[in-house]
Symmetry: C2
Subunit: 555 residues, 2 copies
């Protein structure tokens, strides 16, 4: 019954199943970009593989190709010049639909085995993928490797494990035997077939082209659906490499490779036509509110799993580790220049200041100390470049400039432009810190994506908790934090997050940061506030991507 | 950790969990309305309990009551004259929200235990509920007892089991310990809280006020939500009895009874206001397409689980048991006068007729023989009344009259009005059979709820299978059937149902009927065609009704 690839990767699957059930630490893929883990030649091979794509047509052998299209601009300023196949939408959809029955026939075991093989192969391409992620997103190398390759693969594996668990609950067949007193029983034989909903579309984002794409991609794929990957126009290469590998593994295993295709539309209307096509039954999206809301409003024929904007926030009530709190926050604000959907934007501090192990700190002192912590953390250029990376988009550069001009609040820390000697054309900026009053809602109560954070003066801790809840309920958030030495305050903040439905990090002062989310253990998004209607990962993320079609007859 | 009521009912829960995993026959509640099963005095006690409601105000002690409202008209013509509390919508919602934290604190174990106790108590009220269902819906007594009480309770228990299984996968807490090479590991303690999405509304239908209400009601309740039950205006009593029992069990167990309330709106606009209220996060609906589509279009703030209209159909290719096939179809068409969402409406027969064990039968012979089978089956008045029950609504009476007039097709079997000596005012009708061509789509390709069936002449079996698929893909269906002695035909029909996503019954000739759906074993609806976007029950029916909110901190 089982599939050879399921047997080959059974230990990985069992590990993932155990991890999602216990939610402790576990990993399948090594997060260190080291030759020890990936092989002596892996770093160099991966770099060469990446460089081999530059300036070339990225052939995929997809049906209905009409043109080549590229245009990615690296935030590091290097020339990419890769072009990708532009294919007719109807052709991609028809090809995906045609490939689905064979994928259905592989069964949950076969699909799971093949998905595990795909992930294993992607893992071996981690250096190639990391370079592609780094150069298209502006992430620093370490983040590009970790978040772009192994961590993204873990999130993909997590989705496969959830999908496997839910599909495994559906028995292949059953004998239904109902007693009829003294008469012979009624006996029916029943068969239960798992059938994918239809073609899935995964719309990627410009900052995390693999980490935010793999969950939906593998959830849809493992549950029996064809998938069309529509990457962000500036981060196509990591998706293209992924799709090419998937297609190769599918073909090796007798599955029509057109089950998974890449859609690089030359025009915006093409994407709208794609996601509203009647045959498209699921859309996974990560990105801004405008297009996200458009998808939710218009893709009524599909299940839409959307991660949108939010206003992540942190309540500071008190701390017994002031210095380490500031260090933790400084790292959070600086990491990838705040270009993470999990970065804190609003830090809520009581007007009367806070109690710390270093004595009472006024509101202004907290502002100044946090600014100093950020500056200090980024003092060494090599640290700064490794952590900040580069600014991914012109929009973010504009937002930094606007914030730095002081129109949104008092500038506590002005952004500076850093020169990256390795990449002279890279746009590198240090974070902007602004102070404002709780009443200045127009300033801080909308997502300002990038390295822009507000220290918001609130009446007191209770008001801060209430404000946090209101921000999240109305504008959404993927993360919330609290610093307090009081159990009552932590309990009140906990209860507030139950109502606003956001993950809470409490008193983070060490090597874990509010913007980090670990596969198998941390739910990324709760699906219960406006920032996301789904979570990586839970049963709900996979269970409605397939349907069960039964048949029954007398025996 | 566990809850006393979970322990009390553990065997029932374990039985249900095993049943949903294996999908064989299992039942928790006895389906025979016998004193042996329910106690010597149960039948009489239940009848008296039902009669005690008649002509009375049905007090529930809900907040914000402003009036009493009734108006149910029994299809059996008896006087009901029960009135129910009309309560302010905002008050019911606010009371439900206020009750939710206590329900959340009970945890999955506590909620499951209390739901199991509720179902046990409802089971003891089976005779009372059966009379209420019979007299409000027009079902015959046996169906009213079985579908109205034990079978509805099984569907409720099924939803509780699914909800328990999904919630049980979420650990209460975890220690996340990430190795750091030679350095001490990063260690976080994490807590995972299951939080209901918000207030759920369950909108009932006029024909199955418990069977179609309990799945959504118990799915929403077990996963931590408050529930407002909005019954059909003509079948309030079964819902009111249910809500009263739920409120009593909640209160006995220290849970605010306002967690579950009955909404009997005096005006239609009230329902629209209720289901679109921002605090309402799920809507379960069974009923027609017009309001169902309205809900899907307007309740964007909520998850909508909708069972709508469909055009159930059967393909007849050939049979080796002609007489028993006709007998099976006759029962299906007659049962509760076809007023089931699972009753077949279109029977697709090749123009050239069919091969049978009784020789070749022309299309016209099949029509005549099926008409004869229905007439013969209903020849004895006591059988006819027990099976047909009464016509539930004036709309259905009008549809029968229209169909009988011959405007929709050739009348093969005209409806007749039967006198029920026990209930002289009951509106009883025998089924209408019409013949038409496949091209007469306007006639048969829309739901004509009630005892109205079409025998549709199609070119051949292949055309019948293709037509069945097209009907289901475009108009939906909860059931499909096929009769054939050919494995190829059955395979082709099976493949068609995988594409159209409908449950298939093959060659039913015995004591099981295409319109019957057994809890734990048969999925009611696939959720994959226009007749329903959800299924009783699967993981998807419960998994998105709760969210998980985590918190984490260093240890």
């Amino acid at each position: 019954m089982s599939h050879p690839l399921l047997e080959k990767h059974r230990a990985t699957l069992e590990g993932a199943l155990h991890a999602i059930a216990t939610r402790g630490y576990w990993s399948a893929y090594n997060e260190m970009p080291s030759p020890k883990a990936y092989g002596e030649t892996a770093p160099e091979d991966g770099k060469l593989a990446f460089e081999a794509h530059l300036g070339e047509d990225f052939a995929l052998g997809q049906p209905g190709q009409t043109a080549w299209h590229g245009g990615e601009e690296s935030p590091y300023g290097i020339e990419l010049n890769v072009t990708y196949p532009v294919c007719d939408i109807d052709g991609l959809i028809a090809a995906g639909e045609q490939a689905m029955p064979g994928w259905q026939a592989a069964g949950a075991d076969g699909r799971t085995g093949i998905c595990l093989e795909i992930l294993d192969r992607l893992n071996r391409q981690s250096f190639e993928l990391a370079h592609a992620v780094m150069m298209t997103t502006g992430q620093g190398w370490m983040m590009a490797f970790q978040a772009g390759a192994p961590h993204a693969q873990e999130r993909g594996l997590e989705a496969v494990a959830y999908a496997y668990r839910e599909q495994r609950f559906v028995p292949h067949e059953a004998t239904w035997e109902k007693p009829q007193g003294k008469n012979p029983p009624l006996v029916l034989k029943k068969h239960f077939e798992i059938v994918g909903r239809g073609v899935g579309v995964v719309v990627g984002c410009g900052t995390f082209p693999t980490w935010n794409t793999y969950p939906g991609l593998f959830a849809a794929l493992a549950t029996g659906n064809a998938v069309i990957v529509k990457p962000h126009g500036n981060a196509i290469l990591p998706a293209a490499i992924t799709v090419r590998t998937i297609r190769a593994v599918l073909a090796e295993n007798g599955i029509d490779a057109d089950l998974v295709t890449l859609c690089v539309p030359a025009e915006r209307e093409t994407t709208q036509k794609l996601v509203t096509h009647p045959a498209v039954k699921s859309v996974d999206f990560t990105g801004g509110n405008v297009f996200g809301q458009w998808l939710l409003d218009h893709c009524r024929q599909a299940q839409v799993y959307a991660e949108l904007a939010g206003v992540n926030n942190i309540v500071i009530d008190s701390t017994d580790a002031y210095k380490r709190m500031l260090g933790n926050l400084a790292f959070t604000l600086a990491l990838y220049s705040g270009q993470m959907c999990t970065t804190s934007q609003a830090i809520l501090v009581p007007a009367g200041g806070i109690a710390t192990d270093d004595g009472h700190k006024s509101f202004d002192e907290v502002c100044a100390d946090l600014a100093r912590a950020v500056t200090g953390f980024l003092a060494k250029p090599e640290v700064a470049h490794a952590v900040l990376g580069a600014i991914q988009s012109a929009d973010t550069l504009r937002r930094i400039e606007e914030a730095g001009s002081g129109t949104l609040g008092t500038v506590i820390l002005a952004p500076t432009r850093l020169e990256n000697p390795e990449f002279p054309k890279a746009e590198v900026r240090t974070p902007v810190l602004l102070a404002c009053d709780a009443g200045d809602e127009a300033a801080y109560m909308e997502e300002r994506f990038g390295p822009i954070a507000f220290i918001v003066k609130v009446a007191d801790t209770a008001a801060a908790i209430a404000l946090s809840e209101r921000i999240i309920t109305t504008h959404g958030a993927l993360t919330a934090g609290v610093y307090s030495t009081s159990a009552e305050v932590i309990d009140a903040m906990t209860a507030a997050t139950w109502r606003s439905k956001v993950a809470l990090s409490i008193n983070l002062t060490g090597g874990v940061f509010v913007n980090q989310s670990a596969a198998y253990s941390d739910y990324h998004g709760t699906g219960g506030n406006p920032a996301a209607n789904a979570s990586y990962s839970d049963s709900a993320f996979v269970a409605n991507r397939f349907r069960v079609v039964q048949r029954r007859y007398h025996v």
